[in-house]
Amino acid sequence: MTSPLRTRVLILAALLAVAFGAVVSKLATLQIVRRAELAGLAERQYSRTISLQALRGPIVDRRGAPLAMSAATESLFAQPRAVGDPVRAAARLAPVLGMPEAEVHALLTVPKTFVWLKRRLPPAVADQVRALREPGLGFVADALRLYPNRELAAHVIGFEGADGGLEGVERAWDKDLGGTPGRAVVGRDALGREVVTQQVIQKPSPGHGVMLTLDTTMQYIAEREIDAAYRRTGSKAAMAVVMDPKTGDVLAVAIRPTFNPNTFAEARQDEIRNRAVTDPFEPGSTFKIIMAAAALEEGVVKPDDRIFGENGSITIARTTIRDWKKQGWMTFAEVLQQSSNVGSIKVGMAIGKETYHRYMTGFGFGAVTGVGLAGESRGLLREPGRWSALSLPTMSIGQEISVTALQMVSAFSAIANGGVLMQPRLVRATFDAEGRQTAAIGPRALRRVISEPTARTLMRLMVQIVDHGTGHAAAIAGYEVGGKTGTAQKMDPATKRYSHAPGVLSFIGVAPADDPRFVMLVMLDEPKNEKWGSEAAAPIFSSIGREILRYLEVAPRDAQPVQLTESLGGAMRAPQAPPLRAQTESVPPASPDPGVMPDVRGKPLRQALATLAALRADVELEGHGLVVQQVPAAGAPLAADAPIRLTLARGGSSEASHASGRAGAFEWSEARERAGASAPGARESR
C-alpha cells in the first residue's frame, strides 16, 4: 500500500492507543483509587438496617402472676416504590386493616422507600394481609404490651409506650425489661424491594422479667375496698398502701382515680399519677405517733405521765390551737387515744426542735424513700433553723410538714419492726427469659430509729387507740390491731390559712400487733360526703385488714383455729423462681359461673384470661394466637386445684376453625375494645 495511508493509519492507531489508555486509567481510578469510597456508597444503597424489637420482659407479682406481658404481633410496612397498584392494594388492604381506604392509599403512595402501614397487628390479621400477596408489603415482628388485669396495680406497673416504659415499674425498670434490640440488614434493590432474606447481624436479646413485691390478691382486696370507698365518699382521691414491716416489701398500692394501662393514651394525668409517692400531704394526727416515738425514746415522757389538757385550747405565738373535745388531766396514753392536740403540743415542745427534727429525718421524712419509682416526692420538712415559733408545736400534731403515703407507711413499719427502718422494696428479683433469676434484691435494714422497748411501747399505745380511743372503727375482730387516725385541714393556697373544708382523712395501722404482718395507710383526699366524719378511713382499714389476715392465714389470737372455707393459695411463699404458668387473679370483667369451665375456644389470649380470671385457677399456656383447645372442656366442672390448659395457635385451627380469617380479626378487635387496648395509632402519637 501507499506510504501516505500507512502514515495516516499509524496516526489513527496512536490516537486509538491514547483513547484505550485513557479508558484503562479511568478504570484504575474507579476500581483501585476510589474503590473504598464508591463501594461504601454502593453498600449503603443495598441494605437497610432494621431494628429487631426485643421481646419485653414480663412484670409479675411476688408469686409469679403476670401483671404485664408482651404478646407477639407483627407490624406491617410498605415500600411504596415496590407496590404494584396502590389503588387496588389500598382497596384490598383497607377492610382487613380496618382503616379508611383513602388513608391506606395515601400511605402507599408517599414518596419514601419505607413507611409503616399499621403497627402491632394480631397474627390472624397479619396472615390475612399475607394472603393478599400484594407486592411491596412486609412484616416486622413487634410486640403488644398487655396488662391482663387492667386497672389492677396500674399506678405501680405503669405502662409502656412505643419507645419503652413511660410510667411506673415499666419506666423505672425499663433497662431490664426492654432487653437489647437486635439488628438485621435487609438487602434491597433499587426499587426498594427486598431481594435477600433478612440477615440478622445481632439477635435481639429478650428483656428480663421483673418480680414485684406486690401480692395480686392483697392488691385486689385493697383496690376493691378503696374503689368502693372512693365512690361512696365522693373523695377527690383515695388510696391504701400496704407494707410488710419486717422486709419493707410493698404488698399493695391501691389508688383511685385510676386508669387502664392498656389504654393509657386516653387516661388523664391525674388518673395516671402514683399519688402514693408523688403527692405529699399534711399527715395531721397520725404524725403524733412519730412525735410520741421521739418523746418516749428521749425519755421526755412516759405513757403514764399525766398532762393537763388546758380545757381544750392552747395559745402559742398568738395562735390558738383547739382540741375537738375539752380535756382536763390525762395520761400520755390518753393524749394519744383522744388525739389531744394540746397534750401532744406540750410533749412535742418538750422534745425540742433539733431532737424532733433528728427523729423525723431518722424515720425517713424529708427524703425520698428510694423505692425506685420516678417522680417520687421528698415531702416537706424544713431545717430547724428555718422554723418559726409555731413550727415545733404544729409539727407535733402533724402540721407544717408534708409526707408521702409511702414515707408514712415506711416510718410506721419501722415501729412495727422493733424500731428498725427497712428500705421500702418494690422489686424483689429479676429473671431471664428461661425463668432463671438474674438478680435478687433482698430486704435491707436502713437504720435503727428507736429502741426495741420504745417500739414495743408504741405498739401498745397504738393498740389502746384502737381498743379505747379514736381508732375503734379500725378494729378487726379476733386480732390485735394498733393504729392512729388522722385528719388534716388543707392549707388554702390562696389565703395560706387552713381551710374548714374536709381535708385529708387517714388511718394508719398495724396488725396483728404482737407479730405485725402488715402496716397499712388508708387515705381519703377531700371526701365530699360528710356523714362518714373524721374517721371514715378506719373502717376501710378494718375491712381490707380482715381479708388480708385471712388470706395470710394468720390465726386469730383468742379463738379456736378457724377452718378457712376458701383457700387462696396459701400464705406468702418464700421467694421462688417465677413459674412459667400464668396465674390469673385479677379483676374479672365478667363473672362466669364459678366451678364450671367456660368455653374460651376461638378467643384471643387476653380475652380468655379475662374470662378465666374470676375462677382463680392456674392457667397453663401453650402457643400463640387464638385458643384452639382447652382442658377441661366447656361446661365441665372444675377441680379444686387442677390447672386449666389452653392451647393457642395462629389464625385458629381444629376445633376453632370457624374462628379463622375475618372472625379471628373481629374477635381480636372486640377483645381489644373490652380490654381497652389502645389503638396502635394512639400509641404512636404519644
Binding site: M1, P4, L5, R6, R8, V9, L12, A13, L16, A17, A19, F20, A22, V23, V24, K26, L27, A28, L30, Q31, I32, R34, R35, A36, E37, L38, A39, L41, A42, E43, Q45, Y46, D189, A190, L191, R193, V195
Partner: protein
C-alpha cells in the same frame, strides 16, 4: 502471489472470546430483571444466544464469500438503508421505545435500520475511496460526496432520534476520509458547522442537555440525570481489582439501568474487577490492532478501505461506549460491540468481522 491464506486466527479468536463473554455477561446482568419483568430469567439469554448463533452464521457466510462482491452491492445497500431509515420513522412501522423510533419489527424479532446503515456506509466509503483515492484533494470529486452520503444517513438516524449512531456515522465518514488522505485543514473546517449543529440538537431535545450536564457532574442530580453514571461508577468501585465474581453483581439488581445493554461493561467491571475489565479493553484493542493490520496488508484498495472502515466503525462504537460507561463522555445510547444485548447490532458486528476475516485471507505480499 499466494491466492488464499488462512484467515487471521487472532482476530477470530478475539472475536469469539468477546462474543462468549458477552453471552455470559448478558445472562448474568439480565437474569433477575428478566425474571422480574418476563417471569423468565433466560429471556434475554435465549435471544442473545439466538442472535449470536445467527451472527456466527453471518460471520461464516461473509468469510466464505469474496468481499469484492460487496462492491457491486453499494447502491442497493445504500438504497435499502435509506428506505428502512425512512420506514422506521413512520408511526406504526417503527417501534417506539423510550420516545425513540429505532426498531422495525419482523415477526418476533426487531431490527435496527441504523445498524444496516453503518454497514452500507462502510461499504460505500470503501468503494468510493478505492476508486477516487487520487481525487482526495478535489473538493467536489473526492471530498464532498462521501460527506453528503454520510450526512444524509446521519440526519435520518438523528430524526429517530439516535444521536449515538448519528455521531458514529459521521465519525466513520470523517475517519475514513482522513485515512484516505483528505486534507486535515478541510476536515478541521467541518467542526465549524458541527458546533451550531450540536447546539441545535441539544436544544431540540432538552434531555440531551441534562445528559451533558450529568456527565460533567453527576452528583448534582444523583437521583435524576446523574443516576445512571453514578450507578455505573458504583458498579466499577464495588468490583475493585478482582471483582465480586461472576454473577455476584448487585448493581444489576435494578440499580443500574440498561445493565445488560449499553452499560454491560459496568457489570463486567463489577463482577470481574479491574483485571477482568482491563482484559476486555485489551481484547478490543487487539481486535482493532488486527483490523488495522489487515487493512494495511490488503491486496487492493477496496479491501484495504473496507477493512479500515470496519475497524474504525468497531473502534468508534467501542470507545464511545467505554467512554460513556466510565463517565468520560456524555451518556448516549450506543451498545458495546460483541458484549451488549441487542440483536441487529450483534448480527452486523459479526457480519463485519466475517468480512474482515475474508479480507485477511487475501493479503498482498
Amino acid at each position: 502471489m499466494p491466492r488464499k491464506l488462512a484467515p487471521d486466527v487472532w482476530l477470530f479468536a478475539v472475536a469469539i472470546v468477546l462474543l462468549s463473554t458477552g453471552v455470559v455477561m448478558v445472562y448474568s446482568a439480565s437474569a433477575i430483571v428478566a425474571a422480574d419483568r418476563f417471569r423468565d430469567p433466560y429471556f434475554f439469554l435465549k435471544r442473545q444466544v439466538f442472535w449470536a448463533a445467527l451472527g456466527c452464521g453471518a460471520l461464516w457466510l461473509a468469510l466464505r464469500t469474496d468481499y469484492r462482491r460487496l462492491e457491486k452491492l453499494v447502491l442497493p445497500l445504500l438504497a435499502l438503508s435509506v428506505v428502512l431509515l425512512i420506514f422506521v420513522l413512520i408511526p406504526g412501522l417503527g417501534v417506539s421505545v423510550n420516545g425513540s423510533r429505532r426498531w422495525l419489527r419482523l415477526g418476533p424479532l426487531s431490527f435496527q435500520p441504523a445498524e444496516l446503515a453503518k454497514l452500507a456506509l462502510v461499504v460505500y466509503l470503501a468503494a468510493f475511496l478505492a476508486r477516487r483515492r487520487d481525487d482526495m484533494h478535489d473538493l467536489q470529486r473526492g471530498f464532498l460526496p462521501p460527506l453528503a452520503v454520510g450526512g444524509v444517513l446521519a440526519s435520518l438516524v438523528l430524526l429517530q432520534p439516535d444521536l449515538g449512531n448519528a455521531v458514529t456515522l459521521l465519525v466513520l465518514t470523517v475517519g475514513l476520509l482522513f485515512l484516505a488522505g483528505a486534507r486535515v485543514s478541510w476536515l478541521g473546517m467541518l467542526t465549524i458547522p458541527a458546533v451550531p449543529l450540536a447546539a441545535l440538537a441539544v436544544w431540540m431535545a432538552p434531555y440531551r442537555m441534562r445528559r451533558v450536564f450529568a456527565f460533567l457532574d453527576p452528583w448534582q442530580d444523583p437521583r435524576g440525570s446523574g443516576f445512571q453514571i453514578i450507578q455505573s461508577w458504583l458498579a466499577f468501585g464495588s468490583g475493585g481489582v478482582f471483582g465480586r465474581g461472576i454473577g455476584e453483581s448487585k448493581q444489576k439488581l435494578f440499580y443500574l439501568p440498561e445493565a445488560h445493554t449499553d452499560f454491560i461493561f459496568a457489570i463486567v467491571g463489577e463482577e470481574l474487577g479491574f483485571l477482568g475489565a482491563s482484559v476486555v479493553v485489551l481484547l478490543f484493542a487487539a481486535l482493532i490492532w488486527r483490523g488495522l493490520r489487515i487493512g494495511l496488508r490488503a491486496s487492493e484498495p477496496f479491501g484495504a478501505y473496507l477493512a479500515l472502515g470496519i475497524t474504525v466503525l468497531v473502534a468508534t462504537q467501542t470507545l464511545v461506549n467505554l467512554g460513556v460507561v466510565t463517565g468520560m463522555l456524555p451518556t448516549k445510547g450506543l451498545p458495546l460491540p460483541f458484549l451488549s444485548f441487542g440483536g441487529s447490532a450483534l448480527l452486523v458486528t459479526m457480519l463485519a468481522t466475517g468480512v474482515l476475516l475474508n479480507i485477511s485471507q487475501d493479503v498482498h505480499v
